[in-house]
Amino acid sequence: MTTDYALTIPTLETERLLLRGWKESDAEGYGELYGDEDNAKFIGGVMAPWDAWRMVAQRIGQWHLRGFAMFAIEEKASGQFIGHAGPNFPKGWPEPEIGWGLVKRFHGKGYAFEAARASLRFAYEVLGWDTAMSLVDPDNTPSAKLATRLGATYESTQTVTSFTADVYRHLSPKEFLK
C-alpha cells in the first residue's frame, strides 16, 4: 500500500555558485539571513530562530506543491550556504516571481545577480514561463538596481497580501535568452 517517490530538486551551476535543493543544515544560514534586521525588513521581518527551520521546510514544501520554488544558494569555493534565489509563488501573489536574498556578509560580490540570472533562465528554459516579474520593497534600492541590471523595468506598485511592493517586469524569454 506504500508508494514512495523522491522529490527531485535540480541543481543549477553558475561560475561561482550552486543553486540546489535544501538541507536541514541550511536553517542555520537562513536564520542569519532572516535574523539580520537590515536584510529582514524587506522580506517580511525578523524571525524567531526556530522559524528558520520552518522556512526551509516551507521552501521544500513549495517545491513539492508547485514543482518549483526558491533554491538554496551555496558558494562553490567554500561550500557555505549564502542565501536563496529562484522562482517563488505563494498563494496570494498576483503571479509567480523571481526572488533572491543573500546573507549580509556575502553582499557586494555580485552573487545575487549571478543567482537571479540563473533563476530567470531556469524559469524560462525549464519551467517554460512566458513572462516573469520580481517584487521589490519600494525602499530596497540594491534589489531594484539588481532587477534593472537584469534588464527588468518598473511596472507598477501593488499591494500583495500584507505588503506593498514594486513590480519589476523582466525581459521576455526571447529578449533574455538571446
Partner: protein, 180 residues
C-alpha cells in the same frame, strides 16, 4: 544534475479513507478550515490565508526533512478532503506528535480515530520508532476520546505555545513505553 531528497508521504488506505501526501489542490479546503475561529479554538484560533499558506508549505515540506509528516486525509468514496493526520514535528518539539484534525462537516463519524490510527500503525511498523505522543487542549474532549480510543495513556499536563495541554503517550503493542 539532481539531488534526490528523501520521502514525500506514502499513501495509506483504511476502510473509508485515503491518507496521502499534500497537494496544491488541498489548499483551499485547508485554508478554509484554519480560518474558522470556532473550529480552531483549541489550537490558538483562526489564521489568515498567508499564514495558512506558510503552514501548509511547512506541512508538505516536513516530509523531506524528517522522513515523516502529516497526511492529507480524503474520503475514499467522494475524494473530498476531510482533514489531516500524522506525525507533526516542528523544530521546537523534541519528538513527533501524532496529530489529527477533521473538518467540521466531517466530524462525529470516527474519521479522526481511523486516520490517526492508520498513521500510528504506519509509524510503528518502522522499526525502532518510539511511541509518539499527542497533546490536546484540556477542553477538547473529542480529541481526548480519540487519544484514549487509540490506547494512549495520559501523562503529565504541560504547556505548548502558552496554552495548557494534556499529554498522551501512545502505546506500541509488544514494546514497553514509559509514560512521562
Amino acid at each position: 544534475m539532481t539531488d534526490d531528497l528523501p520521502l514525500v508521504a506514502p499513501t495509506l488506505e483504511t476502510e473509508r479513507l485515503i491518507l496521502r501526501g499534500w497537494e496544491l489542490e488541498d489548499f483551499d479546503a485547508y485554508a478554509a478550515f484554519v480560518a474558522n475561529d470556532e473550529a480552531n479554538r483549541f489550537r490558538g484560533g483562526a489564521v489568515d490565508r498567508i499564514t495558512a499558506w506558510k503552514d501548509f508549505e511547512g506541512l508538505a515540506g516536513q516530509w523531506a526533512l524528517r522522513g515523516y509528516g502529516t497526511f492529507a486525509v480524503e474520503d475514499k468514496e467522494t475524494g473530498e478532503l476531510v482533514g489531516w493526520a500524522g506525525l507533526w514535528h516542528p523544530v521546537r518539539l523534541d519528538e513527533p506528535e501524532l496529530c489529527w484534525s477533521v473538518f467540521p462537516a466531517f466530524t462525529g463519524q470516527g474519521y479522526a480515530h481511523e486516520a490517526a490510527g492508520a498513521a500510528l500503525v504506519w509509524w510503528t511498523q518502522i522499526e525502532d520508532n518510539p511511541a509518539p505522543f499527542s497533546m490536546t487542549h484540556p477542553d477538547n474532549i473529542a480529541s481526548q476520546r480519540v487519544a484514549e480510543k487509540l490506547g494512549a495513556l495520559r501523562g503529565e499536563d504541560f504547556e505548548f505555545d502558552g496554552r495548557p495541554s494534556f499529554f498522551f503517550r501512545h502505546q506500541i503493542a509488544g514494546r514497553e513505553e514509559m509514560v512521562h
